[in-house]
Every structure is written in structure tokens, then in C-alpha cells.
Chain length 311, copies 2
Amino acid sequence: MTLQSGQLGGPVLTVGSVALDSVRTPFGEVEEELGGAACYASVSASFFTPARIVAVIGEDFPDEHIARIGERGIDLAGLQREPGKTFRWSGYYEYDLNQAHTVKTELNVFEGFRPDLPADYRATPYVFLANIDPALQLSVLDQIRRPKLVACDTMNYWLENARDTVLEVLARCDIALMNEAEARELVGMPNLISCARQILNYGPGVVIIKKGEHGSMMLTRDSYFTAPGYPLEEVKDPTGAGDSFAGGLMGYLARCGETDDSTVRRAIICGTVMASFAVEDFSLDRLFRLTHDEIAERYHDIVAMMRVEAM
Amino acid sequence: MTLQSGQLGGPVLTVGSVALDSVRTPFGEVEEELGGAACYASVSASFFTPARIVAVIGEDFPDEHIARIGERGIDLAGLQREPGKTFRWSGYYEYDLNQAHTVKTELNVFEGFRPDLPADYRATPYVFLANIDPALQLSVLDQIRRPKLVACDTMNYWLENARDTVLEVLARCDIALMNEAEARELVGMPNLISCARQILNYGPGVVIIKKGEHGSMMLTRDSYFTAPGYPLEEVKDPTGAGDSFAGGLMGYLARCGETDDSTVRRAIICGTVMASFAVEDFSLDRLFRLTHDEIAERYHDIVAMMRVEAM
């Protein structure tokens, strides 16, 4: 596949948050910069396929951010502007960049977010339900007609407060994405493989567990795949890594139009690549200056890192 | 390669501890069972190539243990029996099986251990210096004539108390093996890749960092390789995983007689396989009942887990 040929696949719709993030890491600090799961995922997907977004912003959301997302060719018809302030998250990371410490979450307009899909979004074939209230994830699925592929993410808050609804979402998804701790919390077992196997029983045909710098693993009913993290020597800000991963994964799957084992494996490497770029700078800065050549080169590097012959 | 054809490579010498381990995990408990780095490594290597051991035991060391090691065809001419009691380690693991908690270490005869290589060991081509006082590791290197390949392990105690001597050992080794925490402690940097790169500057041409359930990574001056952990659903006792890894690695390298990048990668998978079996039961029980077919099958499974095509 040559990425340079532009956006060729079926569109990917991401539903989730658009935020203004204030983040401090040992390597720097930003205030009220562009963030949010739906931003990272759709910008990431846009390198592979047309992307659409359903999210909410407040009256204070800077036009320059909308312009930058628009420059990636992302369809913003589903970006609702509501009275009030934009969702804000502030947090910090210490040297263990796997662990985000939240200082403050101001939901603002995100609190009343009710995803309302524009009519021409309802036939979107590829849907990524980023981490939002699982009741809203269900309402999106109710609005979508026969999607080809649905992936969902979640977080510990929903596992603790709306576990049954999370299970309803999982039963309607093809790909469940979550991190190690979430998988263990959802299933209640210490062994990650056992957890992944149990999550398959909840419905999805593919479970992908993200392990931060340790990469990710995929389990299906008849295949197991592990992808390493890309060996970065400089990580400036891990915010958005998981959503960039999801965007690369979904974008690649949409572009290929296939969901067989080999394609999903390649899509996971694309997700790994996008996550590895996202964390090289604050906010979406690195993604906004990313090229298709850089994506292809890093993909090639990761495949080379994994190469091993028969005994 | 067909393992069934027996032990065909140059011999591997392991210098390290032979111990009586008392271990408790959430899955069971054993008292004063066979253990020690040199045991795990040489039994593991013996599936690939002839193995020799240099270690010390006390008067109380059970003959049945010697018999079981001997049944693996391991040359025991270098196993010194000294007056006093055998080295004992007792410890436990909680659900985080990556973390050993030491209850008691009784050095006993191990305290006075001075590796004295039998004359016909001095030309051994493959040498694994398991975790012992780095001054003793150096004395072994002084006794060995022109080894083809030397690998060394270490631990936090020596990094804190004999760092300069550890660096002297590293300067004389081809392969440095250590775990994540040790690499970070040795170099004093948080980023693992930066640490591995710095360790190459200390001398070895290959650095292998063990990451427990997350597998391992290898860095050389022009190659980077990552191997996943084997996805076990039942780990009974992680004791000896790292040494079984080292034994599989060295055994395979010795059997191949090559140390090029492709061979080292395959050797790392052999190490991964041997570690994954070792942890399936307490002490060396699983290794003692392991077959060549099982090794080949698990190697094949791991390669399948890593398979991914070009974009």
C-alpha cells in the first residue's frame, strides 16, 4: 500500500471528546492546548482514510484549532458547538510516563453531550467509540445503520459505575480496545491472557489490550498477536497515545476494507506507529507535521524489529 | 534445526549458584527444592548442547538432586562440595509475579565460593556468568582461554556495591543480560532504550534486557529486536525464569555455532521458550519433564504470534 495516494478507504467516524488539555511532563508543559480522544483518533485516522468526528465544543473553542483539524481533511459536520465552555483536562506525568495523574477535569459542555449524528453520517462503515459514557456509545450504535466494523474504548470510571452498560456496548462491538488495568478490572482476573479470553466471551471478535511502552496484544478466537512498543528515546507527552493508536488502527482497516487476521495485525502496527509519533510532542503537534513517508518508514522499522526465522 | 538429534554444539559452561529454594506463590509452595541460577541455566542449555556447571554445594545437598541434573547429561566435574550447608533462598511472590520478595538468604558455602575450573573446562567456547560477585565473574574469565562467546548477568546488589567491577565484567563480555530495573540502575537513566545504548558503550556487542511477562528486547550497534513474553495463563512460580532464558539463549547459540543477528534473534526466542516452561511449575520440575517436541512447538507458536506483513 502506498499511503501517498491519499485517503482512499471508507470513512471512519470517531465519537468522543474534544478538549483543551493542560499537561505537564518532566520534559515540558502546555496550557489549554488541543486534545481529546476524538481529536487524536480522527487526526490519526485521517492519514489513512477520510475521517469524521462527532463531538461537542464550547463557545470558547479557538477557531485556529478547528482550522488545523480541518486542514487534515476531517469532516466536521458532527462537531456541535454549544453554549458554555469547552471540556478541559489538566494533569501531569512523572518519569513513569505510563501513569497519568489528573489534577482537574472540567466537563463543561461535555457534561450534556448527546451525540447527534448528521443524516449522512448514519451509514458510516467504520465507527470508533472513544471513551465516553457507555450509554452514549449505545446511542451512537442505535443511530448507525449496519456498520462494517465498530471498535470501542472505555475507562476505569465506567467499569466502576456502569459496568453493565459497558458489557452491552461490548456485545455490539467487533473490536474491544482497552489498557491492561481496564482489562483486569473488567474481568477481575490477574492474568491478562485469561482476561482477554473472557472479553471475547462478552461479544467482540477481536480484543486488543494496550500496554503502553510494552506495546499491545491482540486475541481473537483463533489467533494471538503481540506488537512491541516503538523504542522511543524521547517521549515528551504520552497524552493521546491510546487514541492515536485507535485512529491508526481504524484508518488502516477502513482503507484496506478487510478485517482478516493479517489485516488486523498490520492495522495494529499502524496504530503503534501513530501512537509513537503522537507522544513525541505535546498536544497533536507531532501529528500535524507528520508525513506519509515517516509513517511508512516507522512501520518498516517495527516490522524489522519483530523479524525472526524458524528454529 | 531438529532438536531431537541431541546435543551437537560446543559446550556451554555456567558459573553461578546451586541453591535450595523455599518459595511461596499464590499458586502453591515448596520447601528446600532444587534451585539456583546455574541449575536453571545449565538444565535449560542442556536441551540444545552439552552443558557444564561450576558451582558449590554443601554436605547436605541431596544426592537425588545431583542425580536429576546428571540425567540431563550435564557435566558435573565443576560442582564443588564443601563442608557446611548449601546456599538457601526463601521468598514469595504475590499476584504481581514480576516482583520477588526475599524472606531470607543464607549464603552458607556460597559465601566462600571461589570458582575453580577443572583443567578441561578452560577451553569451553561458550560461557555464561550467572549472577554472582563480579569479582568471581572476572576470575572465571581469567581462567578461560579464548572463549568464543561470553554472556553475563548481574543484580542490583552488585550494581550498588561493586559497580566498577560490574563494568569490568561488561567490558569483557559479548552479551550483557539484565532486567529492566537493573539496566536503569546501572546507567541511571529512565529510558530503557537509552540505557541499552549506553550499556553497549561499556563493551558488549549485544545487550538483552529482560522484561518479565513483557518479553525482552535486544540492542546491538545496528539492530533492535523485541520478543514478546509467551502468553501463559498459568504461571506457578517465576523463580529461575531469567536463568532459564539465559540457558536457552546460550544453548541455542552454542548449537548453531554462529553469532550473527539472525541467530541471536532465534536464540532469544529459545530463551523465551525455556523461561516460559520453567515458570509453569515450581523448582525445575517442568524443565525436567520437558520434551524437544514441546520446545519446537512453543518456538513455532511464538514466531506465529510475531508474524506481520509489510504495509
